[in-house]
């Protein structure tokens, strides 16, 4: 392939020459690549891309600002809270401040914050704040016992299909998000919350017009 071509003086063009074939052979042949090599490189490249995407997705973390990922939550019977309807979409709650709490009945730290969440709900439920409890990876019977045990009355429902948790990249439970009237995340807590902490955030957001 590296030998020199005949001298420059006969560059005649032949009409019947299959140009495409020569082009491909010249392109890849010139790079010293065979078809098999190209396929192998393509397959390896595909693997690298898939791996990179996987690593990128695994490294995503909980949102702390910006638009809150939308979701639809089907509420447990008897736990409509002040959400207004079931199933309830987060985007339907624009204009209201939303407290979104992920929990599970098997979760010990969740039990620590349960009373505080309910107390904060009682304080703000008529002030334009909607509380949504998302029951993550839980069995309904155990979840209902938990809700009864802590006297919880705000809107609660299961994370059906385990779709909402991954959307917020939750690393476990409990996790609490406060979303402002425009649907932006304003507060993220990856451990139990307290009445004082939550009240501070809610007061600030309710003052904003």
């Amino acid at each position: 392939m590296s030998e020199s071509l005949p001298p420059e003086n006969t560059p005649k063009k032949s009409e019947q020459a299959p140009v495409g074939r020569y082009f491909l052979a010249g392109l890849f042949g010139g790079m010293g690549l065979s078809l098999g090599m190209l396929i192998a490189i393509g397959v390896i490249g595909l693997f690298v891309v898939i791996l990179a995407l996987g690593l990128f997705r695994a490294n995503q973390t909980q949102p702390t600002s910006g638009p809150a990922p939308d979701f639809e939550l089907t509420l447990f019977d008897g736990y409509p809270g002040n959400a207004g309807q079931t199933p309830i979409k987060l985007s339907d709650l624009k204009g209201k401040v939303v407290v979104l709490n992920f929990w599970a009945s098997w979760c010990v730290p969740c039990a620590q914050e349960a009373a505080d969440l309910q107390a904060t709900y009682a304080k703000y439920k008529d002030k334009g704040v909607v509380f949504l409890g998302v029951d993550w990876t839980d069995i309904e019977g155990d979840a209902r016992n938990y809700l009864k045990r802590f006297g919880i009355t705000y809107a609660n429902g299961p994370d059906l299909g385990t779709k909402i948790g991954p959307r917020y990249h939750i690393s476990g439970v409990p996790e609490t998000y406060v979303i402002d009237r425009d649907g932006n995340v304003q507060f993220t807590k990856i451990s139990p919350v307290t009445v004082a902490e939550l009240s501070g955030v809610l007061d600030r957001l309710l003052q904003q017009k």
């Binding site: 032949s14 020459a17 098997w106 979760c107 990876t137 069995i139 059906l160 299909g161 385990t162």
Partner: protein, 170 residues
């Protein structure tokens, strides 16, 4: 000679394909073929037989029968409860998939993008066999017919002749 190699390769291909099909269907049958225990007393073995085909999201890489978290204990209790109600293995799995998504199954369902997991190996096998047959035929053809080089009729153009010759070695 060439035809015989091709026939042998084709035969091997069909044998492998049929064996693969049998293996796949038997796996599918084993999944659905176990009769539901109708007895009231469900043992841990009954529960674990189903649990080991599942993963709860709390234990990312540990099957449900081995995971010791409280969440997975609840899941196993739920399986036991459903078994004692006379529900079948498939009904129980369907319940968990509906609640928590297909990710709870150790063996992903053959639908959507997961279908690729089942189709790609077979496609790869077929492509591989075709490639092998092609390679064998080419090698054989080259081995026997190498000296019988048939030069292309000169086109009257030095460049074209040169490219034709290079293509032959490509």
């Amino acid at each position: 000679m060439m035809k015989r190699t091709f026939k042998i390769a084709l035969f091997v291909f069909w044998v492998v394909a049929v064996l693969l099909l049998i293996a796949l269907t038997s796996v599918a049958l084993a999944q659905t073929g176990t009769p539901p225990p109708t007895k009231q007393d469900v043992t841990a073995d009954d529960v674990n037989r189903i649990a080991k085909q599942m993963y709860c999201p709390v234990c990312e890489n540990e099957p449900l029968d081995a995971c010791r978290t409280a969440a997975c204990q609840q899941w196993r209790a739920q399986i036991g409860q459903m078994l004692s109600e006379g529900q079948s293995e498939q009904q129980i799995k369907d319940y968990f998939v509906a609640r928590y998504g297909a990710r709870v199954l150790a063996q992903p369902p053959a639908q959507g993008i997961s279908l690729l997991l089942y189709v790609l190996p077979i496609v790869g096998l077929i492509v591989g066999v075709i490639f092998l047959v092609w390679l064998l035929r080419r090698l054989r053809a080259r081995g026997t017919a190498a000296p019988v080089a048939t030069p292309a009729p000169p086109s009257g153009d030095e460049y074209i002749d040169r490219v034709e010759q290079d293509l032959k070695n490509f």
